[in-house]
Symmetry: D3
Subunit: 338 residues, 6 copies
């Protein structure tokens, strides 16, 4: 921990009890030369036990995680747990305050810049601190994403295919522990700089979630988040009690799925207005179109149909109507035997 950092904090990570503090990140602006970003962080510790990082707001327009975490840190008494939880409700804090996926200060996607840079942009300085000062402390990280403005998702938890079999096994256990309506194992397309990879490469457990989307909240998806976090604390032996499976649109079971390859992804092949034919969670037969693109400049032209190569259950779909060529409009998944 002798790596230099430009971030300071009023938190003592070794202290028992509940501390609400800040990460202080230098943020010189035209209208505040000596401005500082005061990012909220809460640490709740009670004696020995595992250490978990619970983070939200990695993308600033994904809200189930931050809401569940803000409610947790207010409600949880240190005596209820064993070990330590480190909670950062808004990891890309400027993006979180702005309600945008990317940082409005440097335009960065927080989840593509790990391990960060000591003297980089503000997002990179935050990532650098988390990488060098927080990750070494932890046993596992649950990074609570949702679909954000652009995607609607079946509330889900997910992990990646990993080469290390033991680590993979621990991930699948930690994944199932969340008890989301869908639990997914998938290949990531673009892994450069993900927090996920940073944690996995340290040999630690990383579980992500996708709890809803459209930059909105629903009562059910918030409930999935809140229940999931407590299930996880129970899984790691940090909290007492039986795990609970939340209900979502009438579904009361948590199942394991996989996305075996790219044939389950659908992209828009033109700019236009996307009309989906299915809701998330629906089953689509192989070869069936999932939606079509209309052309607002030429309404008289036929719509362009979008069809995945493989059939499956719709894990997520494009939320806003307007699409650009290359945008993801649907991803499908199939049930797993693992």
């Amino acid at each position: 921990m002798t790596e230099m950092t430009r971030v300071s904090t009023d938190i003592d990570y070794d202290k028992n009890g509940k501390q609400h503090g800040h990460l202080s990140v230098p943020n010189s602006r035209d209208n505040s030369g000596w401005g500082t970003l005061l990012m909220p962080i809460t640490v709740i510790k009670n004696g020995e036990g595992p250490t978990l990082l619970l983070s939200g707001g990695n993308h600033g327009d994904e809200y189930e995680g931050p809401v569940a975490l803000m409610k947790l840190i207010r409600a949880l008494d240190p005596s209820e747990i064993k070990g330590k939880i480190i909670v950062i409700p808004g990891l890309n804090y400027p993006a979180f305050l702005a309600g945008k996926r990317l940082s409005p200060i440097d335009g960065k996607n927080m989840n593509r810049i790990f391990p960060g840079k000591y003297d980089g942009t503000i997002s990179e300085v935050i990532a650098h601190y988390v990488y060098h000062y927080v990750l070494p402390q932890i046993d596992a990280c649950y990074d609570l994403h949702s679909g954000g403005y652009s995607m609607f998702m079946v509330p889900s938890a997910m992990c990646h295919y990993l080469e290390d079999k033991d680590l993979m096994a621990r991930h699948i256990e930690a994944l199932k522990a969340f008890r989301a309506p869908m639990m997914l194992i998938a290949e990531e397309l673009d892994v450069a700089g993900m927090l996920d990879t940073a944690v996995e490469e340290m040999g630690k457990v990383f579980i992500g979630t996708e709890l809803g989307g459209g930059a909105i909240l629903t009562p059910e998806s918030v409930k999935v988040a809140e229940t999931g976090i407590r299930n996880v604390l129970k899984h790691f032996g940090m909290m007492e009690g039986e795990p609970v499976t939340p209900t979502w649109r009438g579904q009361t079971e948590a199942k394991l799925y996989e996305i075996p390859d790219l044939g389950y992804f659908c992209q828009a092949k033109a700019d236009g207005l996307y009309e989906p034919f299915y809701e998330i969670g629906d089953w689509v037969e192989e070869g069936a179109p999932v939606g079509q693109i209309h052309f607002p400049q030429s309404p008289e032209h036929d719509a362009m149909v979008v069809a995945p190569k493989k059939g499956g259950r719709i894990w997520c779909r494009r939320a806003p109507g307007m699409v650009e060529k290359g945008d993801a409009v649907a991803v499908l998944a199939i049930e797993s035997e693992k």
Copy 2:
């Protein structure tokens, strides 16, 4: 019709058959001095009968209407109808192309600037043409709104309380004809410059819809739009066949509601992250909170509860998580006897 206008068109409103054309609106820009906005318009006419204006995109981020109308103008053969339908899928066309509520050119809300201005901004020039050249032709207007980026709505049709009893009666019939999951009679808070008022004051029928929201589309809400339009054509004797009631989230009936007064509206009283406790369509008891606002800069602070003064069914709620003080977060309605 001798009112001057800056808009021209290649449409002949008196011709039988189907014409896909444009309204040409001068749009001088820094990068196109002699640029013209070519707004799509379709007229389908078959002999005598009523004339209907079917419009979408009055706000540019409301999509069920435009999608249903684009499908209609491609599918409908003139021989299927009697009379004339004038279809403008994107009324605030620059806003529609941009996917924004307000015009990106002049910042105007199209639905607050009627009767427009001959020499005004581009939105006002469009409104002026519609007022002076389209509205005089019609018997009724169905203006297809949705909740847009900021609100989720139970798919609904609505009209205003009108003083003229006969006109009111005709409105209620025209409203019920749409067969949306909710059909609402309400007082408008801020009527200055609405298309609604412009049509009503001509003694003609104006029905608005709110078909979904969040700047998204769902298969069910698109179906409500498509079914509703055809129901209306049947109601006006322009098309043959029986009206159909669409299904929405398992509900198979179309019911009439009212919003009697301001006690059914809920506003955010602080900036923050809004967590709803109910979904649209849920029933809320009098005095029960509908949601709460969390404070991202101070997650340790208690959330601020939001509660309407009256109980009712949640007609609509705030879609995106982030709210500013003064934003509408929920509107409730109660069943009507009318």
Copy 3:
């Protein structure tokens, strides 16, 4: 008061006691279709007596007035006064929240758009309400300006030359009552749409202030504001006690000045970096330069000297270093015999 307005309020202007409420102004935005601007307003009333409008934030970057008014409405008990004070700390509320002179929503200068418009932009809608619903209630208005970002001013109160002799006399009394370090009578260069003119034309008293500037606050200038308001309440018989003359940079007297003509104004005649030779309050001899403009692109070029045609005391000067051709850099005033 039957003029239509788009503004509503929860304030009862006729009720005794202290009410903190809002003016609700419709503010439809891309991210909040049914958004409302909730502008703070406080009314403190105790029985019969004059009615005063105390306003700040007419320009959003002028702070002594808003601070003094916010402190006043918290501190003042209704029993301390006779009559009624209506306090609007942020008249151009969007500009005030943004800390900018002009409205960030419509770009308007609130002090050039009176009497406003029923169906205008948001600033015009606010002005229209104030003109039709607030001004008719009042006997006098003190509109608390400062120099804002661009000017530093000797803390001062001011009124215009008026043709009606009786009204002029009442203005000079109301002006002197404020007891600012400078009290000024001046001709306004560009009177179109000022709140000042609106009030004066109703035959009521309008006193403006210029309490400091540079978009900043100093302890002394805040004190001038707070003392001045209470002096005014005493002047109108609404509060008991003797008036107090505040100290400013060692000056303990409040004196009357005039700006007889345009020869006392100095403009920059080129773009560049302005270096003032005097501080506000200094005396400048006739013909002496008040400053000079340096050229950052060509530092080797001689600076361009700026000199007023007349001598006088420097009432105000340009605050920020960078100037554009046509910017005011200094205004002088001379002692008055009135």
Copy 4:
């Protein structure tokens, strides 16, 4: 001339000799509350004779006029003329400084807002002054346009078809006097608020020019501007000497053309990259395509051909490669017998 104005000037319009002065237009900005736009204006007068307004920069990205006028006011000695010329090189002065067609302050097209407004936006305030204080003084106006960023034009002078035969005859004489490579009579499509119309309706002569384009200058087009202005002064008997016909791309004759109807205009019918098949001044046979639109998102798709309905000489064509649907890409003209 008792119309109120917010504009003042240091020019004495009745004084003999050469005066370089300013129009002072109030321009309150966030960074200069008391800022003033100091628009250059030059008046050169020598005894009795006609009065001409020579204006440039009506659109801010059209440069031949301003350059020719700036050279003229430096070079011309009052003794060389009889009568008075009023020269405003940058009529939409903020647009001219920014090098943009429209005002960067209020977004206005100066040539669509006459007669302006006393209390309007800054462009309207300028137009209002010109209409009420300058136009009443003049006998004729030559408003020197070029194609600006978006169009390339054969250097040309032009006037409109007018109903008053005598006025039309005087216009044709004044048009021919300019001796541009093309001299055009045309119908304007969108006349609302043009300076042209304002002058014509006063029964005075208005000649516009289109001297080049692409926001650039060529030595030849500047020469056309300079020669044309002096030819005009000779035509009105204000200057001695014989008129001169400038050379343009080898053409040494000035000819009269007409644009009889809309069949000579070509618009882009899709967004894309426009490739012209002809240069300005080329002759196009009836039915021949003038260019085609390529699709950068889909280079493999065939280009869309653009063809006018009528044949003629290409008066102007789109300059920049990228076009949006509705942009003018070419206008043709045919020789006139008038």
Copy 5:
């Protein structure tokens, strides 16, 4: 080719025939978290032979190259060539779609960032792919530039002075093969990160072009581009037939020129409005001014003359009228004996 990349493609570089495909570049945006840039690429291959990269849109506002390449890939049958051509019509694809020199996403100049970065900004990710996956395949690269918005150029091809004599000789041959109106050898002032340098350092041939400018197209300059590319294919033995020399402004010969040193460059020494005295291709005597700068804020001031130190033929000049201090306004060249 085991270098990691974030770019994928549906193109098989080893397959015979014509493939229109895409480079898929991850492009996470606020409104499309899983958005992808789908950059068009075409590969045409027929058996053995050299491999050429033909690229356009390195700067997004230079159009002759992209137009010629889009026409080529539609027209060319694989059987017409031997070997392989890789065609990327829009290398800085976001800049190309926007019609801007620099990327609107990251502000980067594509031609100063080679060899790119695996985890860099989007322009750097594209450059990194081209460097590691495309350049290793090729024998030569023709990168088709034009002057863009800011410069007009005599249609020309160019290469750099290289130390390796053999490579230099091969470059001169490849240069002459293009048969542009001017063919230039020049020293580059600022070589950091150029595609040129990247190719040259691999010992491969790099020829750039400057085919026109002003962000526009002319029929003649498009012809130079189309002819030149086919001439080049013949030069490399990939296509049959005799090379053709295109005509430009009456010139029918292709000549070699050099820019020996910095004395042939002219910069603006002040902000203002630039008036050129010569057209591109004109000969300027030593010491003669090439243009002058007028001052729009002070039209009465004399213009500032711009003169190069050396005489020569004007290879290019500033296109738009407005200039800032430091902008290039002209570059001259002299005939070469090489």
Copy 6:
């Protein structure tokens, strides 16, 4: 000095006499592909002696330094000095021209990017040149800062605590030589990339100043700058004469202060409108509040008091009224015995 650079200059650093020249920095823009930033630099040399770098505009909104330096380079005759001074009045030149702290081109804080990058953004390219071409020449650097837009400072000079005792001693002498009203030794909080550190690590003397603030100038603070620079030249034996102590707000003595730890800094803990209770230079007792934050959205709420942990003299305070959470509002200092 064989490090590559993208910057060139017309200055000969070894030549005696006074040279006004430029640093030429490539600055390719959308509207000037071959644009160059021509940054002013002046070198005045007279035979042997020390070399000093005098820089201003490291942050673009700090003006005392640039004004004093522009006056110095015009006034100073080479014969008045021994040795060499290198003067760069606007180090972050784009920021200086814009009057902003950070570069408007790349958003960089010039004082956090040393030693710069050869192929970096424009600010990094400038820093890289200064680091590799200017710093090696010098004996000492006086970098003239002020508070800029956000802070008001007692005019002061300052240096850091350094581990090397000899270097520390030389710094304290060089610090005292400036004779500012306050002379400070302080710990820097965030040293990454400072020019200060770059110079110190070369074993050379670095003195910074903070001469005023609020983006403004006062006659007294300009005098402190001008006097200080000449005092320094005398200190280094480069100029003859006795040092002079300037007067500031009646204070005629220059004293040494220290900021021993973070207890002397005050931050805003909420967004709002900051009201200071003290002026700069005032003494604050331990525990006393220095100001309070008002809440413009809720004026009825009590203000939040801000109090430092330690007492001291107010070295600087927040200038503009509006603050964000984390902004510095005051820094205190205590007298030093050193």
